[in-house]
């Protein structure tokens, strides 16, 4: 029977869903409720020398009616005294011995200070340690957080200090605010880290109040750049996780972080090598209860795919990521519009003309379907723009504006049929000129109807060839 139980860097986990070090893991009371809701683990809100936070702290980016597509914060590490956090940690571990509690730590860059904090956290019962080398705001100004993560030497050195003392697995949390995330990841690995977690939040300004001109979040009329997270950052996080996991000098057990909100998100991080995932924004948005469907949905998908354990699919998509130069240039797809599904919105048409390669036309009524297909590949047989002289979108629009229409009178104008809105008029269904289609996907991406525009493989008759191979053969 499929199970979500797994082991991460030697730590036994009831499931791979952890709460990230953040406000949802601020105190023991919260973490125990989270465990009751189904979370397998929690990374305690970063413990270190006590701080004072500002008010306000969060801001977000809404998109098309949805709240918090992206979220940012300027909150610091825990503002509770370490002894309170550690006392509560002991209590959580006593009551929830099977659940994972990771102590996130951040202290000043002194060996003995790190040693002391590691000792205290492990004495409190932490199952592992996460070194916060990623926090991009506030703490970095004090030489901690991303100020460490951005300098590989510091990253390696502090990881080494921690490893001198630690008896539990050490996870280094990486900052994305760096040109190449593999560099600090390699440093952490050299320093002896047992695992990595990525990504921390991304430097950001979420927006500006257009009345007051004050950026958000607003602290007495001023703001400071905060850490960006939420659904908006997932693609960036996936890319960085893949970069690290595909690099033999950096790869370690990975706890994936960044925009995870659903079981699909979790599966994607795992397919790129993550052993567990950490969640914050989604839990801040909707509460701990979201974990139920993460587990339920992931298990259903695993059963459908025939996986018994998460380890069986972990990393399976990594070999499918290549450098661009190793992609097959002789693979070709072209767009196919399935007319029976088309609703006539013409978004593909305007997108192709303005955003792509002008190969979708509104000419089914003007003989477009009879246009001969020559089978040329526009990537090699370059045409002048719009070689068939088709009407531009502006011409199509202007023609519509000139039409004279009147309100239909039922029975008189429509022969009693009534307005037939169930069928898309043929003149509104776009046509793809396959000889001009470069196979970019744009039309299929903007089409609101599932499966209406599909990208169909065209046999080129050529053996696979990459750019690298072509460059080699040219040299030879």
């Amino acid at each position: 029977m499929a199970t979500l139980e797994t082991t991460f860097a030697g730590i036994k986990c009831l499931n791979p869903f952890w709460l990230a070090s953040a406000p949802p893991t601020n105190c023991g009371e919260q973490i125990m409720r989270a465990f009751d809701a189904g979370w397998g683990g929690a990374v305690w809100k970063t413990i270190g020398a006590q701080v004072t936070n500002v008010s306000s702290r969060y801001s977000s980016v809404d998109w098309n009616g949805q709240r918090m597509m992206g979220f940012n914060n300027i909150e610091l590490i825990s503002d509770r005294p370490p002894e309170v956090n550690l006392r509560e940690m002991s209590e959580v571990k006593r009551r929830y011995p099977k659940h994972v509690v990771i102590a996130s730590l951040m202290v000043e860059s002194k060996r003995e200070v790190w040693h002391e904090m590691v000792q205290r956290a492990e004495d409190a019962g932490a199952d592992g340690l996460e070194l916060n080398f990623g926090c991009p705001h506030g703490m970095s100004e004090r030489g901690m957080g991303s100020a460490v993560g951005q300098v590989p030497e510091y990253c390696e050195q502090i990881t080494g200090w921690v490893k001198e003392k630690a008896r539990t697995p050490v996870i280094v949390k990486l900052t994305p605010n760096i040109a190449d995330i593999r560099i600090p990841a390699r440093a952490a690995k050299r320093g002896g880290a047992d695992a990595l977690s990525a990504i921390n939040t991304i430097n950001s300004i979420t927006g500006i109040d257009l009345e007051t001109l004050e950026p958000r979040p607003n602290v007495d009329g001023k703001s400071s750049h905060g850490g960006y997270c939420g659904p908006a950052v997932k693609p960036i996080a996936l890319s960085m996780v893949q970069q690290v996991m595909s690099d033999p000098l950096a790869a370690l057990p990975m706890s994936g972080i960044g925009g995870v909100a659903t079981w699909q998100d979790a599966a994607e991080f795992m397919l790129l090598g993550a052993g567990t995932v950490q969640v914050c924004t989604a839990a801040m948005h909707y509460g701990y209860r979201i974990v139920e469907d993460m587990g339920d949905g992931l298990l259903a998908w695993m059963r459908r795919k025939g996986y018994e354990r998460v380890d069986e699919f972990r990393g399976l998509s990594l070999p499918k990521m290549r450098e661009w130069k190793h992609l097959n240039l002789n693979f070709r797809v072209v767009a196919e519009i399935h007319a029976e599904k088309c609703i006539g919105c013409q978004l593909c048409y305007t997108a192709c003309w303005d955003g792509a390669h002008q190969c979708i036309h509104m000419d089914r009524m003007e003989g477009g379907m009879e246009q001969a297909v020559t089978g040329t590949d526009p990537r090699y047989v370059q045409h002048e723009a719009n070689p068939q002289g088709k009407p531009t979108p502006a011409m199509v629009f202007a023609a519509s504006m000139k039409t004279i229409v009147t309100t239909p009178i039922a029975k008189l104008d429509l022969d009693g049929e009534g307005l037939n809105s169930a069928v898309t008029p043929l003149q509104r269904i776009p046509r793809v000129d396959v000889d001009e289609c470069v196979g970019c996907n744009l039309c299929s991406l903007v089409c609101p109807v599932p499966e209406c525009i599909t990208m169909e493989r065209v046999e080129t008759g050529l053996r696979p060839e990459t750019w690298a191979e072509r460059a080699e053969s040219v040299k030879a």
Binding site: N64, G65, I343, G344, C345, Q346, L347, Y349, T350, M362, P393, V396, F397, S400, M401, T403, I404, V405, T406, T407, P408, I409, A410, K411, L412, G416, G418, L419, S421, A422, V423, T424, R428, P448, V449
Partner: protein
């Protein structure tokens, strides 16, 4: 009475709407709340060359104004609507959107839930009115030209607005004391309150449209206008409602739908007797029947010679009337009114369809329908009078025009609206008036060029 250009008008304040009428004629389609409007606007796919725009006789760029609601640019949204349709607020409420923009929405083929374009349009227009801002247009530089517009309905108003924007003086002549024609006096109050029609016309007055009220244009007046103005626009609408031509038609309590609707909308009619019969099955008949229900009748019958499959009312109007509690007597024809001084009932003959779809009377089966108010709604007469016929070519009583310019057979005369199309919607009249306004200016420029 001439309202001069400089004087700010306030037709809106002349609307006499009692709280009781307001309560009885609560809005059929209430305004959208702000977050609901934005949510609905975000649902719009933003089609290119959108079918809704194509289906609108005035070609309002619907996706454009809807996206401006979504982006919070309400000022731009209203301007987008008004660019195409100067009576955008009235049309938002009065249009049969299910056979126009909303009927054409691609969502019918997507998730079966068309965008609520009418209510979104109203949202944008209400926001403009609430802001107190004038129309986002200014009169054009004075060309020294002037046009007389006969009839103060939507066609003339739309034509006048186009003329003013192009620097042509526009003077409207109307027989009624308030402007707007059927837009003001003829649309069911639960769709478009009289006051809302006037509010919109106040904004046209700010653009410099001039009004002559209580003015009947007879042959002498028409000759005067033709002589003194550079062009004449005929927006005269249709004539009186047909009469049945049967005994007792002049009894007290027999009226016609236009007078009845105008009566309650302008505050002259406050209540109706318990039993009301409406003759006819068009959209106006339904408006009258629903109004009778709301004005207190306990039993309202619509009487129609044919069956429901042949009624000319929109299907949604028929459904609405049924929901209001209106009852229907199909295949029945009035043959006489009953009553001494006041009407008390109708004598009806049963009709049967024949093979050639003409109707034949079913002899000996006449029956009575009690009614203390009978409202005739069997269509309006067209213009067969010699006044117009002498000036312009008519076809079955309709003024013949070039659809693109509104020009009639007489170059100086332009026309639009019901008098040209036999009676359609406000939006059709606005579209006609808009094209005619542009057409008149082009013709005047041509005249000037030739001179």
């Amino acid at each position: 009475m001439l309202v001069p250009m400089s004087e700010a008008t306030n037709f809106f304040s002349k609307a006499q709407r009692t709280a009781e009428v307001a309560a009885r004629f609560a809005e059929l389609h209430p305004a959208l709340e702000k977050t609901a409007a934005v949510t609905e606007a975000l649902r719009c796919l933003y089609c290119f060359d959108a079918p809704c725009m194509g289906a609108c006789p005035t070609h309002i760029d619907v996706p454009k104004f809807i996206k401006k609601i979504a982006s919070g640019n309400l000022e731009g949204s209203a301007r987008t609507i008004l660019e195409a349709n100067i009576l955008g607020a009235s049309c938002a409420r009065a249009c049969p959107v299910s056979v126009l923009c909303e009927g054409a929405c691609v969502m019918h083929r997507y998730n079966k839930q068309p965008i609520e374009i009418g209510r979104l349009q109203r949202f944008a227009m209400d926001a403009l009115h609430a802001s107190g801002d004038p129309l986002p247009f200014t009169p054009g530089n004075d060309t020294g030209k002037q046009v007389a517009l006969i009839g103060g309905g939507p066609a003339s108003l739309a034509c006048a607005a186009e003329l003013r924007r192009r620097g042509v003086r526009a003077e409207i002549f109307d027989t009624r004391p308030l402007p707007g024609g059927l837009n003001t006096y003829g649309i069911a109050e639960y769709k478009l309150p009289l006051a809302e029609s006037l509010r919109e016309i106040d904004m046209l007055a700010q653009l410099g449209v001039e009004f002559h009220f209580d003015t009947m244009v007879d042959a002498a007046k028409l000759a005067e206008l033709e002589a003194n103005y550079d062009a004449v626009f005929l927006g005269v609408g249709l004539g009186a409602i047909h009469r049945l031509g049967i005994a007792g038609e002049d009894l007290e309590g027999v009226t016609n739908a236009l007078d009845f609707i105008a009566g309650y909308k302008s505050g002259k009619v406050h209540e109706v007797p318990a039993r009301v019969a409406v003759i006819g099955a068009g959209n106006t008949a339904i408006d009258a029947a629903n109004a009778a229900v709301r004005l207190g009748a306990s039993e309202v019958y619509m009487v129609y010679r044919r069956g429901p499959e042949r009624m000319s009312a929109f299907a949604f109007e028929y459904e609405h009337a049924k929901q209001e509690g209106v009852k229907f007597l199909w295949h029945a024809e009035p043959v006489g009114f009953v009553g001494k001084r006041k009407v008390h009932g109708l004598e009806l003959a049963r009709l049967e369809g024949s093979a050639d779809s003409s109707l034949v009377e079913n002899q000996g089966e006449n029956f009575m329908l009690d009614a203390d108010l009978v409202v005739l709604a069997i269509g309006q007469a067209t213009h067969t009078d010699s006044l117009l016929g002498e000036k312009v070519q008519l076809d079955m009583g309709r003024i013949v025009i070039d659809r693109a310019t509104g020009q009639t057979s007489n170059a100086k005369y332009f026309a639009g609206g019901d008098c040209t199309n036999g009676g359609r919607e406000v939006v059709d009249a606005v579209a006609d008036g808009k094209r005619a306004g542009v057409g008149i200016v082009a013709w005047l420029e041509g005249q000037h060029g030739n001179a």
